[in-house]
Symmetry: C2
Subunit: 166 residues, 2 copies
DNA sequence: TATGAAAGGCCGTGAAC
DNA sequence: GTTCACGGCCTTTCATA
């Protein structure tokens, strides 16, 4: 996955971040390149794993998921085996949409989606309390989502300088 | 935006969450509906705001963004005006990709993307330290992303029962 | 009111240059 | 990287239940 993105690649990525359904022709209107050349670059970006896929952005609340809860978790110890079994359990928990190993006081930060408080109680009982090796578990509720973005186009501006060519 | 999703709508949403570029014909192969009917439903979902858009999923690290940092923030007080000016500043901070008003000890949880530690130092200086009204600011680094999902298809299963019809 | 079928125009794909 | 031709998809219209 050692791939050097040029300005055109980054323009394509920026456009597809904004609208993942843009056609080659539409992209060619923004980017000084023929539709075919754009298609080839997109294919290369997909095959190299830089573009991991495409997805619809769906309104959480429209599908009844009113709550986001962050769960801070500390484990008994951080042995390899502890982490592995914990992470395997997290991977199988359907309501846990995010899990990050963290620096600092707690070991993991989980992100959970729930319909409402009663649903979160169920998730807490059925999914979270069964996670192995947990010593401390603290729930923190999102009261309001102020900003929810993906990678901003501005951060595609300069590639990681690992031997810039061209 | 009071919209009652039926089973077919949810099947369409689930499919477009997995692959946002599926064509009507491809969707019609999975869902017992003609391409025309699917196109009409998708259009309705888009116009009602349930589908907010489409985007490419891009490998963070491939574009040089190696770090995710969570920043916990406490404000001097939670007056309406304080919150508003803080949130306006956050909205204008390009490296801050997430901001949530939280319950519990801290007021806000920010999510920041950075190229590396030096880049985060710059962001800390240029973007974070200038946020108005902050009394406490604690950075917590993501060591490893274990799970990063969107809304799982399983959670589309049952709509929020607000007067189920049909 | 929502679906399904058919026709026309546009797009995506792969060839050659 | 571009141009061109072909096959398939998206769109619209219309008939139907």
């Amino acid at each position: 996955m050692q791939y050097t993105l040029d300005t055109l690649d980054r323009a394509i990525l920026a456009a597809l971040l904004e609208d993942g359904r843009l056609s080659q022709v539409q992209l060619a209107e923004r980017i000084p390149l023929s539709p075919t050349a754009i298609a080839r670059r997109i294919r290369a970006l997909e095959e190299s794993g830089i573009i991991k896929g495409y997805q619809a952005r769906i309104d959480r609340r429209a599908v009844g998921l009113e709550m986001i809860v962050h769960v801070f978790i500390s484990l008994q110890n951080q042995s390899e085996q502890r982490l592995e079994s914990f992470e395997a359990a997290v991977a199988a928990a359907p309501s846990v949409v995010g899990c990050q190993l963290m620096s600092g006081e707690d070991d993991y930060l989980l992100t959970v989606l729930a319909r409402d408080l009663a649903d979160y109680e169920r998730i807490h009982k059925q999914e979270l309390s069964r996670l192995p090796g947990v010593t401390r578990l603290r729930s923190s509720f999102v009261l309001r989502e102020v900003k929810a973005a993906t990678i901003p186009a501005s951060m595609l501006g300069t590639p990681a300088p690992r031997g810039s060519k061209k």
